[in-house]
Amino acid sequence: MNGDSPAKILKENVWTNNPIFIQILGICSTLAVTNNLTNTLIMTLGVMFVAAFTNITVSLLKQVIPRKVRMIVQTLIIAFYVIIVDILLRAYLPEISKSLGPYVGLIITNCIIMGRAEAFAQSHGPLISAWDGLTSGLGYMWVLMLIAFVREILGFGTVFGYAVLPETFTPWTIMVMAPSAFFLLGSVLWIAKAIILKKERGK
């Protein structure tokens, strides 16, 4: 392998090369549920699980899969793990499965998973690929959890469904609705990029 240490992969996937900041990948499936922390947590955990296992599987099968059908087999592998997540949710967390509706299935088209499988698992061993999938999922998770935190606390005055703000607080309706997700994600990108640019200039 080409000397990628686990610590370096962690740092890259969570911060310097965060899938959301740098590549704006994979936000479609989860942004819609970021007005609620619980739903966001479950969705991002699902993405993490699928990314890690897809990477392992793709890495193990990379010698076997013919080049021509690589994409379709990868899609098949991703769909397989997403269905596992869906089945598990329906059996053990029926309430959450109900409120997530079709969004669990949309993890299939989450570009991060396919992107990491192509860019990393194709050329690395299974263990380090699993780590890469996990950390990509982690990088994805913290950004979306941050957005969900702001949206839930300002939109409903709650954190994970528990009221934390006083009764007199007037919820910001806009935070519940779609546009706020775009504004917040844009702002997070702005701040992250400002910090990265400042560091570069400091060098």
Binding site: N36, L76, I83, P94, T173
Partner: protein, 201 residues
């Protein structure tokens, strides 16, 4: 066999597809009973909530259902029972929300003066917006609400209406279309239950 040959390509695709589908059907088979049980529990809970009974975590809901509704028969359009000396009737409802069909259960006092309870079974409204009709604070507003002239789901508010005598509940902030649809569904349901009850007597 050459890795780029057509036979190899087709073979690998077919075999991997077969293995994945096989594993999935195993996983589905292993959990289908659990899923079916979840569904039964969900429905039993909905009937109990609609009858005004607080469902606790450790309750055997299916047993409880038979105690509350001794003559429970899902073939009938509505269930009748007497709780604490008050007669009430409970019936499942369905109707179009903003996006898809909303299914639920509604309980009314037998003289149709007040709603006893309301529970949502399934819906496909937007998560976090219209989907909040499935949250406890919203559904709790219905229990005990005065409903002689039907109910009104108000726009705005979004905190929960505590006045049980005004025939109004707070709607979901940002989801006025879902609130309007649900208001229509519930009022239609009250009328349906009235005529079904009238027809039986």
């Amino acid at each position: 066999m050459k890795k780029d040959s057509l036979i190899y390509t087709v073979l690998v695709t077919a075999v991997s597809a077969f293995i994945f589908v096989f594993l999935l059907s195993l996983a589905n088979g292993a959990t289908s009973e659990k899923v079916a049980e979840n569904q039964r529990v969900l429905e039993a809970k909905a009937y109990l909530t609609a009858a005004g009974i607080a469902v606790k975590e450790d309750m055997d809901v299916e047993k409880e259902l038979m105690t509350v509704f001794p003559q429970f028969d899902s073939a009938r359009p509505y269930q009748e029972t007497t709780l604490n000396g008050k007669k009430l009737i409970v019936a499942p409802f369905q109707g179009s929300g903003l996006w898809g069909t909303i299914y639920g259960v509604l309980g009314m006092s037998a003289d149709f003066s007040r709603i006893v309870g309301m529970e949502i079974l399934s819906h496909s409204e937007t998560p976090g917006l219209g989907g909040r009709i499935d949250e406890a604070w919203f559904k709790d507003q219905f229990s005990g609400e005065y409903a002689v002239d039907g109910i009104v789901i108000r726009h705005g508010g979004g905190k929960g209406d505590t006045d049980k005598d005004n025939g109004e509940v707070d709607g979901i902030t940002g989801a006025s279309r879902t609130s309007d649809s649900l208001q229509q569904i519930i009022n239609d349901q009250i009328d349906k239950m009235k005529s079904a009850k009238g027809g039986m007597n």
